[in-house]
């Protein structure tokens, strides 16, 4: 049985994993026990383990989309049950030796959890300045320090720990360690109290304090000093896939709002007749499609364009959570009081409103992602913009096509100025036919924006491209992320396999998606063109009435 079928109708009163049960568990600050059991039975962890180690992980973009049923149902279950295990495990898939990989794979396939122990309260996402240290001792290492706000710290069977192994500043001063907490000497590691949180309330955000805790030298993942490089590679993967999963959360927000709007009557008709409401529903759906395009393209790029993918995953992690949050806030206005009431039919909405912000902060936050892009802007503008050396292959935009294996060692920490996705924007724009005048106009506007960005980037004093830079670099990085999103949407429409579908085969969705992007850039203003708003709103209602997912795949849902 598929995961979606097991989860069943979310609205059914008796469903032990329906929305009502999800909200009740959240109220108690617990993960839904029935939900965890269901995911255990389904063996969800196998989705995070590579095929050659006994799991199902091959294509990371397919894996991300396969998590959407969980994120549609319970975002904190998605994060708390498994995604943080994946975030830890990626480091070991990338750099672990055979013994480490096999051990972790076995643990995950048996339903165990891995905790990603990177975060320190004093340093947040600033990995380079972390203080938690591992010093040489008796042929092994001794660990000292605290890791806090760590999901599943108290119940993980594996810990992936980021530690300083050299006091000097620099990129070779940290190492990753894979630990089995059951083998750590008692009294040398202490569990720290759980942190309560406004969102993801069921997630067990604990901590660990290590007091000169001895660990064997074999605990090091990769070589000593490889920690930063491995972590940055692993981040590229998780930055692309996490937003792709989170599209499921916006799906639910739209669905709940539409359900409310269909049932509620004002001025003698359903609320869905009100033009502003139609516009909000359509706009949120368009935003979900933009997020789907960008995150899917970024995930596929890891396989197809490993040297160039670092910028795309940073752009996805920066932009997509923002799109999701902003869309959810606008939907909240339609729901009115139901957007914050913690009980009743629509209560899952307020839970998601509280859960969504943590998806960004608990992992590489927006500033980190922008910093990644900023550090590469100069090279990109100089070497590639606008048309670059080469375009992306068409298969980048065809989500059903088989992908070559993900080769972690090929993931470049810098694209060094190469930018096939931007080159594809220019090529794609030229390929749009005259029948699609609206698409042509929007695509041309994005190409012009890329040209304008090039000028502005090349004018930037070098200092503005460093961590000490002024705000302007952040603005340019944000604009560039939007241009990439536009390229993803345009090229998914041009090359994607969905052309046979009644909805995605038409150009209305891409007009809407590109309009949303252009609006954020300030190169278009106002709501969607009325025909697009009507078409998308009608599609939202259709996919709510005959439940289908609010993304490109348009899969049937339970309910």
């Amino acid at each position: 049985m598929t995961l979606e079928a097991r989860l069943g109708d979310p609205w059914a009163a008796g469903n032990p994993v329906g929305f009502a049960a999800v909200v009740r568990a959240d109220e108690r600050g617990r993960l839904l026990a029935e939900g965890e059991r269901l995911l255990d039975d389904y063996g969800l962890n196998r989705d995070f383990v590579p095929r050659d180690l006994g799991g199902r992980l091959g294509d990371v973009s397919r894996m991300a989309r396969s998590l959407r049923p969980v994120f549609r149902r319970d975002t904190s279950l998605g994060l708390g049950y498994g995604v943080t295990s994946f975030m830890a495990a990626v480091n070991v898939w990338a750099a672990g030796d055979d013994a480490q990989r096999r051990w972790l794979a076995g643990l995950l396939c048996r339903g165990g959890r891995a905790a990603v122990c990177f975060h320190e309260l004093a340093h947040g996402n600033d990995l380079a300045n972390q203080e938690f240290e591992a010093v040489r001792r008796d042929g092994g290492l001794a660990l000292r320090g605290r890791k806090e706000v760590i999901n599943n710290a108290d119940r993980a069977g594996a810990l992936v720990v980021f530690a300083r192994t050299d006091p000097r500043r620099g990129g070779r001063s940290h190492s990753l360690l894979l630990l089995d907490p059951a083998t750590l000497p008692p009294g040398r590691v202490h569990r720290l109290p759980r942190f309560g949180s406004a969102g993801m309330r069921g997630c067990r955000l604990g901590g660990l304090r290590f007091d000169d805790c001895p660990v064997p030298a074999e605990a090091v993942v990769g070589g000593e000093g490889d920690g930063m490089e491995t972590a940055l590679r692993a981040f590229q993967v998780t930055r692309a896939v996490l937003p792709a999963m989170a599209i499921g959360t916006l799906d639910t927000q739209i669905r709940v709002t539409a359900r409310f709007a269909l049932a509620r009557r004002l001025y003698g008709a359903p609320v869905t007749d009100i033009p502003h409401v139609r516009s909000v529903l359509a706009g949120a759906f368009a935003d979900a499609l933009v997020g789907d395009c960008l995150s899917t393209v970024a995930s596929r790029a890891l396989h197809l364009l490993p040297r160039e993918a670092s910028v795309y995953s940073a752009a996805a992690k920066y932009l997509v959570p923002k799109l999701l949050l902003d869309a959810a806030d606008r939907l909240a206005l339609v729901l009115g009081a139901r957007s914050y009431v913690r009980e009743g039919e629509y209560a899952v909405f307020q839970k998601n409103l509280r859960d969504l912000p943590l998806l960004s902060l608990g992992h590489a936050g927006p500033a980190n992602c922008q910093a990644t892009i900023i550090s590469q802007l100069g090279a990109l503008a100089h070497r590639s913009w606008p048309s670059g050396d080469y375009e992306a292959p068409a298969s980048l935009f065809q989500s059903g096509r088989e992908l070559p294996a993900l080769r972690y060692e090929d993931l470049g920490l810098s694209a060094r100025g190469r930018d096939p996705l931007s080159a594809s924007l220019v090529a794609g724009s030229a390929a749009v036919g005259e029948d699609n005048a609206a698409v042509r106009g929007l695509a041309a506007a994005l190409v012009a924006e890329l040209g304008a960005l090039k000028t502005r980037v090349l004018e930037l004093p070098p200092r503005d491209r460093t961590p000490a830079g002024r705000r302007v670099a952040f603005t340019l990085a944000a604009r560039y992320a939007l241009v990439l999103a536009g390229s993803a949407c345009l090229n998914v429409w041009l090359h994607g396999e969905h052309r046979q579908d009644r909805f995605t085969g038409d150009d209305t969705w891409v007009v809407a998606a590109l309009h949303r992007v252009a609006e954020r850039l300030g190169i278009r203003s106002g709501p969607l063109p009325p025909y697009a708003a009507d078409r998308l709103c009608a599609e939202v209602i259709a996919r709510c009435t005959d439940p289908h997912s609010l993304d490109l795949d348009n899969v049937p849902l339970s309910g």
Partner: protein
């Protein structure tokens, strides 16, 4: 601002490379090149691991030399980078 320096050749190449790198780093820091010590790790100037990656992009863009993004992690001072880059391009044995 975007001067392209021809690939270094000969014994004076390291000196020229050091000067180019010093100018570049000084520009990033908004300081005078005289204030930059080529033997001090760049990280001590606040140029962190992420920035180091962008320096490799600059080297490729302006000098035409392809280097690993992590090059500045393994050669953390201007002097070390200059030695490494000149060793890369010299036909003969590395100095």
């Amino acid at each position: 601002m975007n001067t392209t320096v021809p690939p270094p050749e000969g014994a004076e190449s390291q000196e020229r490379m050091r000067a180019w790198l010093t100018d570049r780093v000084a520009a990033y820091l908004d300081k005078s090149p005289d204030d930059i010590d080529p033997r001090l790790p760049l990280a001590e100037y606040g140029l962190d691991s992420v920035y180091a990656v962008s320096l490799s992009g600059d080297i490729e863009a302006h000098l035409g030399l392809e280097v690993e993004p992590t090059m500045a992690w393994d050669y953390p001072t201007i002097e070390a980078i200059a030695r490494y880059l000149c060793g890369e391009t010299l036909e003969g044995p590395r100095p």
